[in-house]
Amino acid sequence: MITKTTSRITFGDKLQHFLARVGLRRNRFRVQPGLYALGEPDKESDVFVTANYGLSFNKLRESLAGMDCYILVLDTKGINVWCAAGKGTFGTDELVHRMQNTNLEEYAVRKKLILPQLGASGVAAHEVEKRTGFKVEYGPVRAEDLPEYLRTHEATPQMRLVRFNLYDRLILVPIELTHMILPTLFIMAVLYFISGLIPALAALAIIVAGLMLFPVIIPWLPTHNFSTKGFILGTLIALPFFFVVFFNAPATAWWRSLGQAFPYLLVMPSLVAFITLNYTGVTPFTSKSGVAREIFSYFPVMFWLFCVGAIMGIVFRFIT
């Protein structure tokens, strides 16, 4: 059975893209797995394979405007191609199963599939050919490069590289905003009632810096490791809090002021660093073994700095 589709992106599609980008109903933004016909394909037409995440499918059909071709949608549980390939759902088994399930060989006599390059961490091309007789061709990383790619079926080096430019990083900010807005307000309210306005603002600064500012400024922070980048950013945002608290009450003994102010320089950098360490999963270049080494080296530092800072903060709150 073949479902008809078009390359037109409607207002409704755009609304769904917007909702997915801000993290609303994203898990339900799915396409029915199966075989789709774009335009009027015949037996000679190309077959493109994608995931059943709505954004993945829409991006592909939009990029294929004006073409007559087939789109085979795999069941990746609503996850994009690269992440699904990493989990194995965009994988050799599901591909072979979906080809048989849709009787693909009746429609495509050229026995060739075009897969997105990032699907390669889940699909073994030679294995697919052995099991189905279909050749797998890896197209470019991004669907938007398909029109140019299809002229020669040769990808330029740029088409083969993942990138993480300013736009790619900025588009990640709204989803963090949606996820964090309620927890942030809750934490701020709790801190406000137990210790006042400045700690509540410090919590806000940690979350804004770690989740919204950090993704945007990753390349401009020195050092290579995410934890040390986070410590640097956290120290920068902690300094104003340190000075405000330190000079807040000139009549207080200097050591008391220092005792009240110094915890900001311990707690804020360690929490920002913890958040940025967790940002490794969102970026397209951190390796599994590298992240493991980062956790091993820096998590203990974050933990102890946080503990010392938190205890110091509580102690100086009670003795003054």
Partner: protein, 92 residues
Amino acid sequence: MESKYLETTLKYDAELCTGCGMCSTVCPHRVFAQANGIAEITRPTACMECGACALNCPANAITVDSGTGCATAQMMAAVRRKKEPTCDCSCC
């Protein structure tokens, strides 16, 4: 303070390579290049251990301990005492 990402688990045996070029095609960080009819690793530190090259090498000339480079997934796996970290979260 030095980078934790300079070493990777990527290993390549040039003896087994048939020169099909698949590793250069699938790598999203241009770690491989083709020279003298076989593959060579030209940007080893750029490897993110995604596993695409090893999975698509018909000659089994490449091995890599592939998996998620996500600290959240790895710490959750440690807490839940699972061997292989996976992204069970809906974040990706």
